[in-house]
Symmetry: D2
Subunit: 195 residues, 4 copies
């Protein structure tokens, strides 16, 4: 089951963004109730997005496939710690089944069959003392891989913007949608225009 869990977020993130951003103008005298929200709306409108980099959020994503992780790690300003198939024994791997397959009983039978075949092969190779880093060559893309992702708010806006477009792949869209929902609760002014 897919699960997106917020592990950490900058405390008082929107206040921090204001505090940092007002440095550019030395306009600290304009700070007051709700001034952070006005400030953030202004910098987003003006394209002064670098100020959003001072706050960040860390998510643990459980139940994404290796297809998903291979895509997400391309984002340069983010940081990743990912379940390693070199170090983790994958005998009990879980899989992601695409909707187009689970909706079609014949396709699902083929899919489940090949998953079991991969699992057996992996087990047998392990029993023959093949190392994990080599046995994993038989593991399919569908296998899940846990990953922790930290990014600053500007980068999360870029990731979410790119990966929720209609041409993006369904799995990364779904995951980025869950991340956006969480961020929009925690830092509503920064993310409200993306929903």
């Amino acid at each position: 089951m897919l699960k997106v869990e917020l592990l950490a977020i900058t405390p008082s993130a929107e206040r921090l963004i204001e505090e940092a951003g007002r440095t550019c103008y030395l306009s600290f005298d304009k700070t007051g109730e709700d001034s952070d929200k006005r400030f953030i709306r202004m910098i987003i409108k003006n394209g002064h997005h670098s100020v959003l980099e001072h706050a960040s959020a860390t998510f643990r994503i459980i139940g994404g496939s290796r297809s998903f992780t291979h895509q997400i790690v391309r984002h340069r300003m983010a940081s990743f710690s990912q379940q390693s198939q070199r170090y983790v024994d994958e005998r009990d791997f879980s899989v992601v089944t695409p909707d187009s397959i689970s909706a079609n009983p014949a396709a699902l039978e083929i899919f489940n069959g090949v998953m079991e075949r991969c699992r057996e092969a992996y087990k047998k190779l392990k029993e023959m003392d093949v190392r994990k880093e080599d046995a994993r060559f038989v593991l399919p893309n569908a296998v899940t891989s846990e990953i922790v992702v930290t990014a600053n708010f500007r980068e999360w806006r870029l990731i979410i913007g790119t990966r929720t477009e209609k041409n993006a792949q369904w799995e990364i869209r779904k995951i980025c949608g869950l991340i956006l929902a969480e961020l929009a609760k925690r830092a509503p002014t920064v993310f409200e225009d993306m929903k």
Copy 2:
């Protein structure tokens, strides 16, 4: 006066690093009292520094010169919001005086003289309605520029490592020394080997 102020730091940063880093090995069962410290020492020793990227800290640096800021902004994985001479009126600028100059009365007189001359020129240009972004061309490197810097712990280690070397410039060495002192209090296991 130089002042380095911690504005924000990831809460329970060392625990977060452990939580994120154990994802690579799915070794969450090894978590316990002080396990974060052992884990962090291990990854630093093994060179697995990417895990340190999940935690970050934000500093406000007041009283650094434009010479200093021009150096610090070269660090790519860090984020900056800096007092802009295009937007801030600099009539009352402060300056950084190098020790080699303040220790020498004749040099200091020359230095102070030229600072006042620059200030007068700036004021007169402003009175002639020259815009701030053009009047600033007469401001010297000694003028201070407030800056807020956010970096993750891996990047802080790299910045501090590079900028406190004996060949580094004295101002950035001093500032990075103050940052290290603060970080070593807040995340001692991550920074203890750098002191």
Copy 3:
């Protein structure tokens, strides 16, 4: 005098972009006369800009001020080698005079006066054996600083796009305009939409 000189550019850059980009689709069979131009127009239109990163260009910029260099070095995916005021003797520095100042004789007199005062102070400090890295604190922003900048084509598009906007500062706008003119000659399909 401002001078922007192309030092290096990826040979057959547009062909390389096509060769690299077709890897995504294994569509090498579509390669033919002018197919690179069609391919590049398609990826720019579709927002698949990462393919443009395979080609790059290096410029030497002579006659830009330290105000300009402090801005340009903020671009993360670019590479910089800049005249160092720690290592270069600046007794014979050149300056950039903003148009708003050179157009106003009274302003120009103030400006030139302060430049000479800075130069004298720098010389005297040097004669007192103050090190270059400390004497430079009296140098104004107007002082020129030679810089060599390498960036890939995607990054040049981002730099030029941001820095030629109407709100950008006049000096960086002018320099980025000269860079764009050169790039549009050398890789016309990549840069034609930016003019």
Copy 4:
């Protein structure tokens, strides 16, 4: 079969590095026969590696597995164009067989068996009109994925240094070894100390 092909490299790369690097010191008068080699040796020794960023090289890597590509794309300052399993029909996929498996007939039989089973499943799913982006979930890590990688020389040094260490995975070690061999021919002074 694994194949590493140089697609592009900065012309006169070592001269360009010298030309760019001498900007820091304005020491162009020291340029002469073989001065580039002395200059490059000096900056490598002094740790002034940013100068190496002005030159870059692009390789096409054919016959690397998806395990390999998932590792290489983590390098931030490099640029990638990779065969996409969303767009390319993979019915005729090739595979990488680890030596530890091909050396063991029983293991090889298991491995080959599961590869064929994956191929059949992929074909059948495609015949049922499952889209490529979903059918690929049954493709194993062993499947090859063509990739074009561009990096500057500093980044190639970092990639090669990290990925040829004794703890690195055998496939990425082998590929980085081939890249190093090619770079050491083309820019011998930059890469001679890494062999």
